[in-house]
């Protein structure tokens, strides 16, 4: 049983179903408040009948800082998914998909070129999920994560920067066919 709605600050008192899952990071309060303050329509939750949050997405709208205007890594106006999580017992019901689609609607409404996100290269489930929704790898950020999620001997883990074009990108100029082979350093990502 579920309702999708905007995040409210007191939802943080009800997010344990999502955040006790080891794959979901818990941030400082100001981090959640920042998204709520700046991009409230891009911070959506899914609530069960008892008021527990069983999924949420946090996103923002931005472009790279002006000083990078002429860099090849410059990102034009786009939406970014900062966090997406669904409580383990509520997975595979389409909740993740609805949350992401709502964010895409907001991205279109704000005339964004694309929606992008970072995901661990080893997070096969999430990658399968995003591919199913039409996202593709745009570039590989080497050693983006300081530690490896599953391999404790590894020092770091690569990230996939995945993207989906929005309506504005009619000519598909902001996606790549062969993004898996396109490697960049973490310093190229802002």
């Amino acid at each position: 049983m579920a309702t999708f709605r905007r995040f409210r600050p007191d939802d943080v008192d009800k997010i344990s179903k999502c955040n006790l899952d080891p794959l979901t990071e818990t941030y400082e309060l100001v981090f959640y408040l920042q998204y709520h303050a700046r991009w409230p329509s891009l911070f959506q939750v899914c609530e069960d009948t008892n008021g527990n949050i069983i999924g949420y997405i946090m996103g923002k709208l931005e472009s790279s800082p002006e000083i990078y205007k002429f860099s090849e890594h410059y990102l034009p106006w786009h939406a970014h998914i900062t966090a997406l999580t669904v409580a383990p017992e509520a997975r595979r019901l389409g909740i993740g998909k609805i949350l992401t689609e709502q964010l895409e609607l907001a991205a279109d409404a704000n005339n964004a070129w694309f929606v992008d996100l970072f995901v661990r290269k080893g997070n096969a489930r999430a990658i399968a999920f995003y591919k199913n929704l039409g996202y593709s790898v745009f570039r590989v950020v080497k050693d983006y994560y300081g530690e490896h999620a599953t391999d404790s001997t590894a020092q770091s883990e690569d990230a996939y920067d995945m993207r989906k074009p929005m309506k504005r990108d009619k000519k598909l100029q902001h996606i790549r066919e062969d993004g898996e082979t396109y490697e960049v350093d973490p310093t190229d990502v802002w």
Partner: protein, 998 residues
């Protein structure tokens, strides 16, 4: 307030800049004076004052405050924002938030009035007032900004939202509340009216954005008339329906919520119906309206209006049919719609008895439940989805459903063993649910007269018992669940590899829950209140069995949060705080979820095992409470977080209203107080020094009038009980949940200890010792009076929020504060000695009662578990006994120190008597407590602890088939499991050996 050191205004010469940046305060003062003389610019005077504030002497330190006061009193207008920012930085830590408004806030308004066209300067002033939550001055600035920039629409809405915030806050004088409220409303109504005109861009003073509309409704909710509200709902552009058509759902949800609260069911029904119809016809809206909340509104609305308009029943049925027939909808919607059908059958079903029978309400309910289960039985959420409906079925219906229908589905799925196991698990969960419905255990008619003991019978299982709680009826379900669990873990999926299907841990949880019930720990609420501690009358063997199966499950799926959460509480109750702590740490509760989750484990932990709160005596930095304290320190660093300013900048008015509300509540969180109290208690017990409670900045806000806010999140904790029954996590608890009264009382107690235990630094020597002693005494007496009045205020009616031992303990503190005041302040009189002796007997009686309740055992001479486990699980009482003895000792020492120097004839004799009695009572309590620790220490080495535990946990399995199942499940891990329990108890007792007794 910690502001980073600001930069000096640009244009200031390099020499002064660098002296300032390097913190060369003496040079800054000298240079600033020089510049002041040269340029006659008051900015430099303020630079100089700020540099003086950085010097060491108290006189210079206060230069900023003194200057502020002078500016305010003399009507000075500081026309330079940079200068004001400097002053704000320099005085920040010395000025509390209340003082901000009358000093810096006032100066900021003066500045904005003097330079109304300086947009940036005014906005900086506004931001500072907002972050200090000085709404009074913020409102004035916002109003000036709006007047100065009539073509900047943002200023209009800022002004409105701040005016509104002021009118609903306690900063607003009561006689002005209405005025400000009307002001905000009128401005918004004007902005709404002009919206029909064409959009005029930035200078457009009409409502345009979704956020502005949401703000409009928020103001209407509290300040609009009914007619205003109704008119808004029907507005062609801003109404919830036209907004919904644009894909905006938040207004709809808000309006539904408000109408529900107003009891306006007609609106609830009509709105939800209209939006559902809309979304049925438009694919892009489908995403929005199949929300459960909308369906729920439809059904709740219909159930209220159907009396007058019976036709709504057909409308609802038609809507449900349309949605059920739609294809291509997502799984989550199918679930919502199916569930809406179930809910409709329960909520809108006829109560007319003539309609019962095959087509009646009852059969429709069962039919819809069956439909739901058929479709959703393999979802791990199925049980949670239907439980609230299933429990409303008649006992017979529920029995058929749980014992015949669902198991039948499992049978049908026999070809797919895993699916079949999922469904069988669901059946067991429902069977358990059926047992927890209140009112199912009934007295057997006539039994009262025929036999000596009353006889009771469970309507579901038929089990007969001598007690109304009839715990034995949980045996069958425990055994069935354990059997299935064993089969699954042994044969189907022997390899855990961390990835058991959901129902495997769920079966472990179900078995453990039923075992807890079987232990008898839950004996009905009223009896419970009189038991000294949770497991007093329980069969501990069953509780240990529950830990065994859960530990086993954790060995298969480490860190499983539901299993861990249940096990943590179980361990706390059976006295294994060390193991509970180790498991809790695997959950990694930190940062934002601290407030809602840490009380689940940390509340009262210091009373169970101080050493768990402060693990290494030499390193307080390792304290478990650190995470809690640092969360609040980080989140509440400023009066309001900077994010509030972000919300203004982004013009997100709902966030502007919601963030302060949340932050203000966080400031009075029970969890925050808990963090400080737990640490202070542990420090005291272990003889360590911590920061005095009265010096904790965050606790300054907690005056007696602060209503502390409790919100423990139990969302992730297993709970299989019917809604009217006590959830298992509340059965497995040391005492009542956090509450306003308990934490205020805890603060009183901590302040009491601090008052008498505080020792001035060894280097401190008073210039005039006699005068210092008098001042000290006055301070003590005033503080005691405050503590005494707080204690009696919060003790009133607090019985139900405290454990028995807490109640005795706080009572003792309350009596002692009164007694000390009486004996040390008033002159000798017969009345005062009578009062004193009454207070003394009050204290001794409470001490005796506390000893009794902390130390009594169900079977004092008992063997094995009969004594040891209850002893280990009653440390909470022991802790309060220690504290109480300590408090008495401090009282007698202080009274003696005051009375001694001026020995007076007859009072002294009576006083001496009283003191002696008190001293003796305290010493006796402490001796009893110490003795208990000695007994425990002996018990730990008495024979092989592991094999003793095994005997208590599993008894002679030959006679008990359930125990045999548990043993079978644990298999050869049994040795390890016993080791876990034994080690945890040993660590616990060792920890208690470090606790100081006076």
């Amino acid at each position: 307030m910690s502001w980073n050191r600001p930069q000096l205004r640009s244009g200031v010469d390099l020499q002064l800049q660098s002296a300032f940046n390097d913190g060369q305060w003496a040079s800054v003062i000298r240079l600033a004076e020089k510049r002041l003389r040269t340029f006659n610019d008051p900015y430099f005077e303020i630079v100089k004052i700020c540099a003086e504030c950085q010097l060491d002497s108290p006189f210079e330190k206060s230069a900023g405050i003194v200057a502020l006061q002078r500016f305010v009193n003399e009507g000075t207008v500081v026309k330079d924002v940079d200068a004001l920012d400097l002053l704000e930085w320099a005085t920040g830590s010395l000025l509390d938030d209340q003082e901000f408004s009358s000093t810096l806030g006032t100066l900021k308004v003066r500045l904005v009035k003097a330079k109304p066209k300086d947009r940036n300067g005014a906005i900086r002033c506004l931001e500072s007032c907002l972050l200090h939550w000085d709404l009074f001055n913020a409102q004035q600035i916002a109003a000036i900004l709006d007047r100065s920039f009539p073509h900047d629409r943002t200023m209009l809405f800022w002004n409105v939202v701040i005016t509104y915030l002021l009118c609903v806050s306690d900063q607003c004088p009561p006689d002005k509340k209405k005025l400000y409220g009307m002001l905000a409303l009128k401005q918004m109504q004007r902005a709404a009216q002009s919206a029909s005109q064409p959009d005029a861009g930035d200078s457009d003073r009409s409502i345009r954005t979704e956020e502005e509309i949401l703000l409009f409704y928020r103001i209407l909710e509290t300040h609009g008339s009914d007619a205003d509200w109704t008119a808004a709902l029907g507005h062609p552009e801003f109404g919830p329906v036209p907004q919904f058509r644009l894909g905006r759902k938040d207004l709809l949800l808000r309006v539904l919520d408000v109408s529900r609260r107003k009891g306006d069911w007609q609106t609830v029904y009509a709105l939800s119906k209209e939006c559902l119809i809309l979304s049925g016809s438009d694919n892009s809206l489908k995403l929005l309206a199949c929300d459960w909340m909308v369906w729920k509104a439809l059904l709740d609305g219909a159930s209220h209006v159907m009396g007058e308009s019976p036709e709504v029943l057909d409308d609802v049925a038609a809507l449900l049919d349309t949605f059920s027939a739609a294809d291509g909808v997502r799984p989550i919607y199918i679930r919502n719609i199916l569930l809406a059908r179930v809910a409709a059958a329960f909520q809108l079903g006829s109560d007319d008895p003539s309609e019962s029978g095959p087509r009646g309400a009852a059969s429709a309910q069962v039919e819809e439940l069956q439909r739901y289960v058929r479709s959703q039985c393999s979802s791990p959420a199925c049980f949670d989805d239907i439980r609230s409906f299933a429990e409303k079925l008649e006992p017979d219906e529920l029995k058929k459903f749980a014992h015949d229908y669902v198991p039948g589905l499992a049978q049908e799925a026999a070809g797919d063993p895993l699916r079949s196991a999922t469904i069988r698990t669901l059946a067991y969960q429902l069977q358990y649910l059926a047992l927890t419905r209140p009112g199912l255990v009934l007295p057997i008619p006539g039994s009262q007269s025929s036999s000596s003991a009353d006889q009771w019978k469970c309507a579901v299982t038929g089990v007969v018992s001598n007690s109304s709680s009839c715990t034995e009826r949980f045996r069958t379900i425990a055994e069935s669940a354990a059997k299935l669990y064993r089969i699954l873990t042994e044969s189907l999926i022997p390899e855990g590899n961390g990835r058991d299907p959901d129902y495997v841990p769920e079966l472990a949880i179900l078995t453990a829950t039923a075992l807890v019930k079987l232990s008898g720990i839950s004996d009905s609420g009223s009896v419970r209140e009189h038991l000294p501690y949770p497991i007093y009358a329980a069969r501990c063997g069953r509780l240990l069995q529950a830990t065994l199966i859960l530990e086993y499950q954790l060995s298969r799926t480490p860190k499983h949060s539901r299993v861990t959460l249940l096990l943590v509480r179980l361990y706390l109750v059976v006295g294994c705080a060390a193991r509970a702590t180790a498991l809790w740490e695997t959950l990694d509760v930190k940062r934002t979820i601290t407030d809602s989750l840490s009380p689940y484990f940390l509340d009262r932990l210091s009373t169970l095992s101080p050493i768990q709160v402060l693990p290494q005596s030499s390193r307080p930095a390792k304290a478990l409470t650190n995470g809690v304290k640092s969360y609040y320190a980080t989140s509440l660093k400023l009066r309001m977080p900077r994010r509030l300013a972000d919300a203004f900048e982004s013009e997100n008015y709902t966030s502007i209203l919601e963030i302060p509300e949340f932050i203000n509540r966080l400031r009075v969180s029970c969890t925050m107080v808990m963090g400080f109290v737990e640490e202070a208690r542990a420090c005291r017990a272990l003889g360590q020094r911590g920061l005095p409670i009265s010096e904790e900045v965050l606790l300054n806000d907690i005056t007696d009038d602060a209503q502390l806010h409790e919100n423990t999140d139990f969302g992730s904790v297993p709970n299989l009980e019917a809604s009217m029954a006590v959830p298992i996590y509340d059965i497995l608890r040391i005492g009542p949940k956090p509450s306003n009264a308990r934490f205020h009382l805890a603060l009183v107690a901590e302040k009491y200890f601090e008052l008498f235990q505080y020792k001035p630094p060894a280097t401190y020597k008073a210039a005039n010792p006699l005068q210092a002693a008098t001042t000290d005494r006055i301070f003590v007496s005033e503080t005691l009076q405050q503590l005494s009045s707080s204690a009696s205020r919060f003790l009133r009616g607090a019985r139900k929020t405290l454990t028995e031992q807490e109640h005795f303990f706080f009572d003792i503190i309350s009596l002692l504060t009164a007694l000390i005041s009486l004996m040390t302040s008033s002159g000798p009189s017969p009345e005062s000695s009578t009062a004193a002796s009454q207070l003394v007997s009050g204290v001794t009686a409470a001490l005796d009662a506390l000893s009794d309740s902390s130390l009594s055992l169900p079977s004092p001479e008992g063997e094995g578990e009969g004594a040891l486990i209850p002893m280990l699980s009653s440390m909470h009482g022991l802790f309060h006994l220690r504290d109480a003895a300590d408090a008495v000792k401090l009282a007698t020492s202080y009274i003696t120190s005051v009375l001694e120097p001026n020995k007076q004839s007859n009072t002294t004799k009576e006083a001496t008597e009283a003191l002696k009695t008190l001293d003796k009572a305290g010493a006796k309590a402490a001796a009893l407590g110490k003795n208990r620790i000695a007994v425990l220490k002996r018990e730990m080495t008495n024979g092989n602890l592991e094999s003793r535990i095994e005997a208590w946990a599993l008894g002679s399995t030959a006679e008990d088939s359930l125990s045999k199942e548990i043993q079978g499940i644990v298999g050869d891990r049994i040795g390890k499991s016993m080791g876990i329990l034994a080690d945890s108890w040993r660590v616990g007792v060792k920890g208690w050996e470090l606790v100081r007794w006076e």
